[in-house]
């Protein structure tokens, strides 16, 4: 077990043999994302559905603990915001990580409504039918 109280430590407490000499010190989000605050693609949103790609490709040695935790969390289908909540990581951070992991082929994204495209009536009708079933 490594260092004290890191954000997301509980789920991210991997066998950290490959962790870059962080020595368990708290990493600020900015460091985890290697200085970026925006994701590489603008198609990941809070509601983007993520699932680990199968067969799994091993993560590079340079992968940070949070990336490993995210891939593990998404072993089955889950939205980005749920993964962030379960890992106790800020959503903005998870967006950057998820975006990278989709680019590298470790995660597969099923997006939400494409931005700037209005939801089509058929989708709205399906949503409406689903809501009516809740009654």
């Amino acid at each position: 077990m490594s260092g004290p109280e890191r954000p997301g430590g509980e789920a991210g407490e991997a066998h950290s043999g490959t962790d870059p000499e962080s020595g368990g010190a708290p990493l600020r989000p900015y460091v985890i994302t290697r200085g970026r605050s925006r994701p590489s693609r603008n198609t990941v949103g809070v509601e983007t559905l993520l699932v680990a790609t199968t067969p799994a490709t091993p993560l590079p040695l340079s992968a940070v603990r949070e990336e490993r935790a995210l891939v593990r969390m998404c072993e089955r289908l889950l939205s980005l915001v749920e993964a962030a909540a379960h890992l106790e990581l800020p959503v903005s951070l998870v967006k950057v990580l998820a975006s990278d992991l989709v680019d590298s082929g470790h995660l597969t994204a099923r997006s939400g409504v494409p931005q700037a495209v209005l939801p089509d009536p058929q989708l709205l009708q399906e949503v409406l039918d689903g809501l009516r079933r809740l009654r």
């Binding site: 949103g45 559905l49 009708q125 689903g130």
Partner: protein, 202 residues
């Protein structure tokens, strides 16, 4: 970390499409209650860090500083069909949180604004912002036991709503009532879409 284990955490693999509806309102208005009453999961909390210039607030002798605020957002989930999942985000309505809206409004089906008739003025800013941004929304009036009753006509006038903006009375604690508010919103959005794109979908 509920004892239910992790099995419930995940979505059926058939789900292809996620949609979202921000549930916006002032502090204490019942957003989280509403989200919780219809959500199939125990509402989850996520934190977002916002950096903002502290303007006008205890400005210490002209020192302009940036402050970092952590905003908690509660959200819930409803799997509407084998194909579609809906996320509901309880989103604070105050002006200083509008940055947070950006990521939430993009791609949202529409917005449900929750109001408390005892503090109508708290919602003026939010309603105005949504109208300016052209986001479709419906107003859910959360009835508290000690609320005075107002008719929808009165409320529409007091809130200065556009004619076609729906108002629905609701009890945020009640699942059916909360679902009705969401249904009203989606019906409204659908009606707008149909007007906008006549026959286009066929």
């Amino acid at each position: 970390m509920v004892s239910a284990g992790f099995a419930d955490r995940y979505l059926p693999d058939t789900v292809q499409q996620a949609v979202k509806i921000p549930v916006v309102g002032a502090f204490g208005v019942g957003k989280t209650t509403l989200v919780g009453s219809v959500s199939e999961i125990e509402p989850l909390r996520t934190e977002e860090v916002m950096t903002q210039a502290s303007v006008g607030v205890d400005d210490l002798a002209g020192s302009s500083r940036k402050t970092t605020t952590t905003v908690a957002m509660d959200f819930g989930r409803i799997t509407l069909s084998p194909r579609i999942v809906l996320y509901l985000f309880g989103t604070p309505g105050q002006r200083r949180f509008w940055d947070l809206w950006e990521g939430l409004l993009e791609g949202a089906l529409g917005v449900l604004v929750v109001i408390d008739t005892r503090r109508l003025e708290d919602s003026f800013d939010v309603l105005e912002q949504l109208e300016l941004r052209g986001v479709p929304f419906a107003v859910a009036v959360n009835q508290f036991p000690d609320s005075e009753f107002y008719g929808t006509t009165e409320l529409r006038e007091a809130l200065d709503l556009l004619e076609d903006t729906p108002i629905v009375m609701c009890d945020a604690r009640d699942r059916g009532s909360s679902a009705d508010a969401l249904i009203t919103l989606v019906e409204h959005v659908l009606a707008r879409e149909v007007v906008r794109t006549p026959e286009a979908a066929s």
